[in-house]
Symmetry: C2
Subunit: 196 residues, 2 copies
């Protein structure tokens, strides 16, 4: 069977991903992952130097699975700034739930693991570039409202789209995924897109 040939490393990543998704990032221990992967806790360290490294590898794994990168840059093909803004928020709204568990775990170890913090920051910085590009295209179209400078608008959009905000709106306020996307698109339009 082909499933026999799945490498241990991959089984670990699958286990990690499953647990992180199930538990919504809540306290997933090395021993939990090892158990789920069917190996001893110590054997994890034959594949990953630290818990942080395993978590980071898990984010890459999930990106490979779903082509996360591509999806986020797809908004590039939009003609107008407004379309790009909408497309970017929609893509982000589809991506966030996939990395929510891992993101929370990574965020939780921010203080203790600098590498993990940097890995997450890098991701957020990449996302910020999407915000920046949408705002830039709005300005190019002369469609950026005069309320904020491009940098301020980028800061605000980037902040609005944070993982924590997604968590608060969907999990605490009970918004559906569609409501989240529609709500944030609406916000962004009212704040940043001037009427034609």
């Amino acid at each position: 069977m082909s499933s026999e040939t799945v490498s241990t490393r991959t089984r670990i990543l699958q286990a990690s991903l499953n647990l992180l998704e199930e538990g919504q990032g809540k306290g997933v221990r090395m021993s939990d992952i090892a158990g789920k992967a069917g190996i001893s806790r110590q054997a994890l360290y034959l594949h990953f130097r630290t818990r942080g490294e395993l978590l980071i590898a898990t984010t890459h794994y999930v990106d490979d699975l779903h082509g996360g990168e591509d999806r986020l840059t797809a908004s590039r093909t939009a003609e107008t700034g407004k379309e790009r803004l909408d497309a970017f928020i929609k893509a982000w709204g589809g991506y966030l739930p996939e990395i929510y568990g891992i993101g929370k775990a990574l965020l939780a170890m921010r203080d203790t693991d600098a590498e993990a913090a940097a890995a997450w920051d890098k991701r957020m910085q990449d996302m910020r570039e999407g915000c920046e590009a949408a705002i830039r295209d709005l300005a190019r179209d002369n469609a950026l409202t005069p309320f904020y400078s491009p940098v301020q608008a980028t800061d605000l959009l980037w902040t609005m789209l944070s993982l924590r905000n997604w968590e608060q709106l969907t999990i605490e306020c009970g918004w559906s995924r569609e409501e989240y996307v529609a709500g944030l698109q609406s916000m962004a339009r009212h704040l940043f897109v001037s009427p034609p």
Copy 2:
């Protein structure tokens, strides 16, 4: 000297508050607090059952010091919904930096200490009532934009004003306190206040 009469409990709370403010919530240990308060680590447990309880007591202490509660409800005296919204955001923008360190610490132990989580949630729920009241007054004045239902508007405003967003805008994006207040007031007006 009157400073001799300061109770140990109070000295502990002062030490805790100082460290939490200095360190911006970063890893303040029980032994750090004990050291700063000039007592042994174990003696802390004669006054507070757990770290979580000490942290919660510290939030009450800071509220007593600055009259946090009062300040947040002062926006009640506003005549119009728009004024109330502005006043509330301004008050919140002054309050947040004071509880930032404690808030972060409390948030960091969300997963491990249910009591601490509940204490923080309670605070956020109180803040939400301020959001709700401002939106309600806007609706009363017929000044609430038709883009969102009152509940949705409350959800959004509440989310926009979160500690994490304040952190991201001021610490990561470098906004000053004034920029934060002005920026969020501007956002809230554009999203929720319909022109007269």
